[in-house]
Symmetry: C2
Subunit: 195 residues, 2 copies
């Protein structure tokens, strides 16, 4: 399959010039959860034979199943994610990443990252996986890829439990938004890790 | 890690002569689901810095959440797994595998492998991942690693929807059982794929 290193659009984006409506990128993004943007990109990468990334299902602890109703779950609760949301393979390499969004303009708070997730990402790095975060600054409609190693460094050594916005500009890579996929994050990861 | 190409038993099985009880390997395994044996091995590999493999949570479609009870799920159902049960990383490489058990003595039936899973494993192979099945023949207390490529070949081209037991002996690698972990499958995978 063809890569588009110049950022040119594949033919399938023609769909956007259809009569359906003149949707701007940021309007299209608004209200579309980060997770869905990533899943849409993953589908694009898979269809175009570029990479295979999948979302881990949300872990749920099932307490009760009603078999009279065809194995209907009637009592269950969400568990904390002990790993990350996404993983997969790009050119033999293992990828593992987490997506987070913040409305803040000055920093990305680390309080919604669990210690288990940090431990998991440390393990990924130790075994040679490509580990990173995709962080959305919704106030600016900006999305950054930042290495998990940098996040872990702030998590353990930072003065405060957040990463300054400036750090994303300095150490991360801004994801260039497109139309198909909107959140074309793979080139940013390739750039960040020199793949 | 050590391979046991001669098929000899590891010393650790000596435990069966301990005073705690005369538990044979197969008795110890019996009732312990294949998935738990794999998860126990995965924990061992992680603790010993050998590899990182995780189980994907079972996908559940949540229909109703009762927030009065602290986000208790009161209506949900299991979804078909569209990928596989396990994936992870070993020495940079992406691993993806499925575990299945059969009580049959002559063949492994393919009717409980979904088309989506086959498509997923084809994608894994195309992107350079290590894709395989761990298959238990419970009648013999034998566990084999067989490449997903071989399973896919039977799935698409086989005369019948099953893989003969003999094929596992010829093309697969028998997992040598130990005590910790009991199902030490990684050496068999390393051998099968010449890693």
């Amino acid at each position: 399959m063809i890569n588009y290193p110049d950022g040119s659009k594949p033919k399938t984006t023609k769909k956007t010039t259809s009569k359906s409506k003149n949707i701007t990128k940021s309007a299209a993004n608004r209200g579309m959860a980060l997770e869905k943007l990533i899943s849409a990109a993953n589908e694009y990468y898979l269809m175009n034979d570029m990479a295979l990334f999948t979302k881990r299902p949300t872990p749920i602890n099932v307490v009760k199943i009603d078999y009279d109703k065809g194995a209907r779950i009637t009592n269950a609760y969400f568990e904390k994610q002990s790993t990350t949301d996404f993983n997969g393979v790009y050119q033999n390499r293992y990828f593992d990443f987490e997506a987070k969004s913040t409305r803040l303009k000055t920093s990305f708070p680390l309080n919604n990252i669990y210690e288990h997730q940090i431990a998991h990402l440390e393990n990924v790095i130790r075994h040679g996986g490509i580990a990173f975060f995709i962080v959305e600054f919704s106030a600016f409609d900006e999305y950054y890829v930042l290495s998990a190693a940098d996040v872990i460094d702030f998590y353990h050594n930072g003065d405060r439990k957040s990463i300054p916005y400036e750090t994303f500009k300095e150490k991360g890579v801004l994801i260039r938004l497109g139309l198909n996929p909107i959140l074309d994050y793979l080139p940013a990861v390739i750039k960040l890790f020199n793949l």
